[in-house]
Each structure stands twice: as C-alpha cells, then as structure tokens.
Symmetry: C2
Subunit: 402 residues, 2 copies
C-alpha cells in the first residue's frame, strides 16, 4: 500500500506536470508580430493576439535572461546558438514599460524603441488594442509637435517645452485656446508626445470634427531646473532588483512616491507655470490669453498638481482634467458662485482596474448639482497605465472650449 500510494502520487504528479506543460504550450497562440514600438530594423520584441510579449536576444555566455514586464519576471530559454527567447503572460492593451534582465543586469531591450518613464529612458511595448484606431496615424491633416526652449526666471535655467499646434495653425493666422497637459511621476515633458500619442489623437479627433482645434503645452513638473548635483539622486539604486514596472507608479496606491523618485509639490511647478511658461506661450504663440480659453489637465501626479493648482488659482483655467489622479469635489472651492461663472468642466477619469474609479462618478454628480459640468470616465480593463490616459485625453478633448 505504501509503495502503491507513492507510485500513484508520482504518476499523478508527473501527469499533472505533463498536463501543465501541455496547457502552457497550447495556451501561447503563435501569431506573434512586431509592433509599432519595435525598432524598424529589428525582429523582436513581438506581440501576439493574446497580448503576450515575446523577446529574443543573443547572449551566448549568459546564465539567466529574463523579461521584466508588468511587475513580473519571465525566464527566457536559450537555444543552441545562444539566443534567448520567451514570452510574458498576456498584458493589458496599450503601452507598457519593460526591460530585460541579463545575469542580474537590468537593461533596455536592444530591439525596442525607448520612452521616458519610471525615472529612466528604457524599453516600451505597444499591445494592439480593440480601440487603437483613435491613436493610429492616418492620412488626415497633421498638426506639429514642436520642441523649443525658453528661459525660466524661477529655475534660472533654459527649459525645454513641447507644444502641439493643430492642423491649420501654421497658415490661418487665427488665435487658439490652450491646454496645459502634465505627465505623471517618473515621467517628463516627452511622455504625452511619445507614448501618449497626443498629436495623433488630436489630429484624428479634429479631422473627425469631434474636437475643436487647440494648442497643447507639455512641460516638466518634476524637474524644476535645479543644478544636477543639487537634485536628489533619482533612479533605482544600482544592484537593487527593481525593474521598470516595479519602480513606476503604475498600479501603486496614491501617496508616497516609490523610493528613488522625485516628487515635488504643486507649488514649485505653479511658479514656473504662472511666472514663466504661460507668459512665454502667450507672448510667442497665437493664443487667446484668458481663462475661458485656458485648460489644465494631467495624469497621476500631473492631475494631482492640476487639482491643487486649480483650487489655489480658481481664476486661471476653465477646464480641468484629472486622469488617474483622485477625486475633486465642489466642497474644496470656497467661493463656488464665482467659480461656476468661470469654470466650465471638471473631468475625472480612472482605469477600470484602479481603486479610485468608484469615486469619480459620484464626484461628477456633485459638480453637476452645483451647476458645473462634471464628467467621469472609466477606461475599460486598464490600470494605472498609458492606455487609460490616451483614452482620457480622447474623452476630455471634445469637451473643451465649446
């Protein structure tokens, strides 16, 4: 009986393992393709119809190579030529930061394009989405994404800013409204233009007649231009087992920033914004320089900054957007009668997988009750990630400057 039990157990275990092995193999659909975030000359990374990410890298002398994405590390398998290949579990639709780990070194995938997030330039991957048409490049009139510099007295430095100008702006001589659009923690002024696909989203919305044309200004609300040496050391400590997904605020509860990340109060950015950035934009671009034609929005930390800046300066912006940034309620405004004469829309969004998503519908209702348009939007089946924020911009833009 004893041996028979053991044999049965062994048989049972091995067949389970066998089944497990088969199940895993069968589960990976072999329709992997390169994706828009794969470098044009490269064959990997690839994505399949389930949203699995497959990477491949030659590392003949390596002992262990892993794909680090979505907070998990996946072991790759080495072939006889020394090429390591493997794939992740299915990922959410949209954009994700990731990296490779080679014998303990966290490095960018040499096959991917690079994006700034998680306080580093590193790999990103695009998972095809059911609704990807809204951020697909099309043969429509295109605006411009402009990089320029201006001098900030606040930071005593020359600062970089990205400015989207809509199709038509170049030639029509008209003045336009402006949206000031902020990135999240560990990101910078490049985020909305790169992984956020702001220009493409706006070009498409404008071509479809769903959004009015307006200018979008994207600056950096983390880096206030202090000398490099005076800044807190950012970025993960070398040697720490933190991958990009583990470091980035994605999915993290609001609150204290992850170790090694810069955070700043809205106060510092507020000075750059009002004393330097808005004056630069209003004196150098054809904009309508009043509250009715000025909006502010941001994602995560950028939305929290929007929130506190609007509360402290109720006379500056008429449209307010908070993407994955908590809840804003009328009770925070002292003089609601004055506020509602000036502020037209309060928009709050979250990814459906974020806890905060349950609160924004009721908060939007509170705004409607006091006579200000409150709008809430929940991005289906996404978390604290760029697909939520692309969709949020796509929902928010059509509400502006009507």
């Amino acid at each position: 009986m004893k041996y028979k039990s053991l044999a049965l157990l062994l048989f049972s275990a091995s067949s389970s393992l066998l089944c497990l092995g088969q199940t895993n193999s069968a589960a990976v659909v072999e329709d992997f393709k390169t994706t828009p975030t794969t470098q044009q000359e490269q064959k990997f990374p690839q994505v399949n119809s389930e949203g699995r990410v497959r990477v491949s890298i030659s590392a003949p002398q390596a002992l262990k190579v892993q794909l680090d994405i979505g907070g998990k590390k996946y072991d790759l398998v080495k072939d006889e030529k020394g090429v390591w290949t493997g794939e992740s579990a299915p990922q959410d639709e949209g954009f994700h930061y990731y990296q490779l780990n080679i014998d303990g070194a966290s490095v960018p995938d040499p096959g991917s394009l690079y994006y700034y997030g998680a306080s580093r330039w590193g790999s990103g991957i695009e998972i095809p989405a059911k609704d990807q048409d809204f951020y697909a490049l099309k043969n429509v009139p295109h605006g411009q994404l402009r990089e320029t510099q201006y001098f900030s007295k606040t930071s005593n430095s020359t600062r970089r800013v990205y400015i989207y100008t809509p199709p038509g702006y170049e030639k029509d001589g008209k003045k336009y409204p402006v949206l000031y659009l902020q990135h999240g923690m560990g990101e910078n002024e490049t985020g909305w233009g790169n992984q956020g696909r702001t220009a493409v989203i706006m070009d498409n919305l404008i071509a479809e007649g769903k959004s009015l044309p307006f200018i979008i200004v994207m600056e950096n609300s983390s880096n206030q231009g202090a000398p490099r040496a005076a800044r807190p050391a950012g970025a993960p400590t070398p040697g720490a087992p933190t991958g990009a997904p583990a470091v980035q605020p994605t999915g993290a509860p609001m609150g204290a920033p992850p170790a090694g990340m810069r955070s700043m109060g809205a106060g510092q950015f507020e000075r750059v914004l009002f004393d330097d950035l808005i004056p630069f934009v209003e004196s150098n671009f054809r904009v309508i320089p009043d509250q009715a034609h000025r909006a502010m929005a941001g994602l995560s930390m950028g939305g929290m900054q929007t929130h506190s800046i609007v509360v402290a300066n109720p006379d500056k912006f008429s449209y307010v957007g908070m993407f994955s940034s908590g809840t804003f309620e009328p009770k925070e405004i002292k003089d609601i009668d004055t506020f509602k004469k000036k502020v037209k829309v309060v928009f709050m969004s979250f990814g459906g997988r974020e806890k905060g998503s349950v609160n924004i519908g009721p908060a939007a209702e509170e705004w409607n009750k006091v006579g200000i348009k409150g709008v809430s939007y929940i991005s289906p089946e996404t978390a604290h990630e760029w697909q939520s924020w692309r969709r949020s911009l796509h929902e928010f833009a059509p509400l502006l400057f009507r």
Copy 2:
C-alpha cells in the same frame, strides 16, 4: 645560474606587471563627470578630461561585462557588490555611439540617452570638446524643432519630417530660405536634431549674427516607406559579435555598406524630395520657393545623395554642402555657364583623420576657377563622426543665402 636566471626572470616579470598596473592606474585621470548624454537621474556614464568613457552597471551574476566603443571592447571589473565598472581609452572630442556587452549580449547602457545610428536606437556619449561652446544651449532666442507628418505619393505612406524654424519665424510673417539637410547611412531623420544639435547650433549662429535665419528640413533618405515586410532585414544579425561602433560607417572607407545596412540610390529619395517633400514644405511653411533660396547638404551618404541629386538637377539648389561625402568637381557639370548663374557655393568638408580630406581643397579651387565659390573645411582631429558634421554645419550655414 639556471635558477638565478629564472628568479630574475620571475622578479623582472612581476615587477613589470606591477609597473604596468601602476602605469595604467596613473594614466587614468580621476576627474570623471556625467555628461549631457547621461540620463539625468543616473550617475554613469561619465567622461574624464582625457576623453575616457567610464561606465558602471550592476550585473551580479554576469561572467564578463565589456564597454564597446570606437571599435574596441574594454573589460569592466566587478566589485564585491556585483557592480561592474571600467573605462575606455581616450576618445575623440564630440559624440560617439557605444554599447555594453553582458555575457555576449550587446545592449544599450541603461545610464545613457539613446540616439539613432548604426541602424539602431542605442547609447551615445558626448565627450566635452574645446569648441563645444558653438553647440551649447544658451539663453538666446530659440527656434523650434518641429515634428510633423505628410503624405507621400511616391512611398504611398505618411512620412515623418523634422523642420527647424529659426527664432522670429513664429511671429514675423516673413518668408524664409530653406536648407534640406540629410543624415548618413544607418541614421534617420532624427540624427541632425538630436546628436547633430542642429537647432542649438543655428540658434547660436543667428544670435551672434553669423548666419542668416533659414528653415532646415530633415527627412529620411534611407527609408522610403516600403512596407516593413518588404524591406531587407536590417540591423546586425542576432548573435553576431558586432557592436554599434563596428557596424556604423564611422571611419569606414566609402563604398559598400556594412552588411545588414540599408543603402539606397539617390533616385528613390530624389522622387520623394521633388514630388512630395519640397511641395509639402513650400505649400505649408512660409518659404521662398525658388532655387536662389534653396540649399541642400548632407553627411556621408546624405552628402553623396546631395551630390548626385545636384548633378542630375542643376536647377534646384543654389548652395551645396557635402560633409565627409567625397569630392565634387566642376567637370561633372555639363553646362557650367548655366550652372554658375544659379549655384553660389559648393562646400566640401571632412574630418582631418579621414582620407578624403586631402582632396577637397584642390576641388574647391577648381570651383573658384570657374567662378563659383568653392569652400573646403577640415575638422581638426576628428574622423567620420558627428563632431566633424556639427562643425561642418557651423561652417556651412554662414555661407548661405547671402
């Protein structure tokens, strides 16, 4: 005697080794600093006053880690925490592509910013230069570097173009001349704006009154928009021991492209240029649309394309710039009398370490003899690399549209 000799030999060998060790240590000047191409949050890569590049990466389980720069691989040394550190021999002043090699895997350095060259996005490093002031960001009026898209009938695709507009363009309503400026082999439309520092060079030249303001158009003369699947597989083969420096055309003799690199005749790009790009620019920007106000230049392959396009189309450009691109002589032009009524300057440059540099002075003289201004420029102590081309732009721009 026998033992004495051996002892002497051993003593002599060990003291030599000791000396060698000391000599090497003593040779490295310990004044390493981060450089503008180091990610802002990172402590490495660093560069010292000799132009050595020091990298550092945590890779606790790795067996071998190397820095791959300038065609050589330098072994890094592991400390007790598993962090590998080491430095290269002194590099030329200016910008260089590089990468790390971890147990046989060629990967970007996670501490650097990334640039497109050698047919891949990867690490780049800036070595401080004696003349770096001409491409240093200053508090002067800034132009804009604009990214936009246009539809090309030739390639049947929406293509990306970068356009530099000078300070003043945004507001003054004037029309400007245009320079079409091409990248080299294995590079793309981002090269001049990123590692080329085009906008900063022009802003500074214009602020000093050394250059007239003009527009610069930067497109891609490698990628003609064929569907991805139809393109030749580019990029180094996975597993091949090719680092970026080994793959890039830097320092390579003119001629056949390195394996795995796209090359194209000037013919295909010529169609995009004349049928799509110039019409797009001239109908969407405030430009003076005639030969007298149109220039073309390029580096390496881009200069060779400029050369053949100008020979085939002598009625399109009045200023011609070839940077590290060979020699252009009057005898190539059939109707030199007509040519000299329209073409004002032929500019040829090389890095002083490039073989072709000996030919351009005499060729420039040939142009002067036939009544067209011929200018040659040799960049001191540089090779087939970006410092030569930044300096070439800096020398060429002041000659234009006078």
